[in-house]
Symmetry: C2
Subunit: 104 residues, 2 copies
Amino acid sequence: MSELSSTLEPPYYTVIFTSRLAAAHEGYEQMADRMDELAREQPGYLGMDSVREGAIGITVSYWESLEAIRSWGRHTEHREAQRLGRESWYEKYSIRIALVEEVR
Amino acid sequence: MSELSSTLEPPYYTVIFTSRLAAAHEGYEQMADRMDELAREQPGYLGMDSVREGAIGITVSYWESLEAIRSWGRHTEHREAQRLGRESWYEKYSIRIALVEEVR
């Protein structure tokens, strides 16, 4: 990641995605790039920060509303990526959806 | 980071700290380790995930309440770390305080 997202005036929503990649994760990088590109085109998308250190990754994305998050969650290509993530790429992952109340 | 924090039953609070280190950041690593250790001892601390990729870092910490976050923010050693971060270690940083409403 080259640039940090700037903070926006709250309230807005964030999705915190933490993951540990499995040793074998063929096709992951390409799909991650595609999801990154696709997320940016979604209605209500506000920005994203993403860092990976070895197997551990944290991606924080910012959204106008819960509806925007749910709509992106249902996107056909994204659902396929989620399935592959669950079934083969990730050894473990967590998703936290949170309302940003304060920024500094 | 070796282990991902497990998700807890919401609601609880999270602090999303994104940063870009300055080229010169002497003393940073040692202080970061100390803050990590100290945060874990604070009342209301629930967990932390932290990843750094080159200059860019994301640390997400989890807390029982806003009061717990504010109290940690006022801790004497933490205030000194914040000052050094602002004045010399970080080229840019953002802090977002958010209420976790949903986990998956």
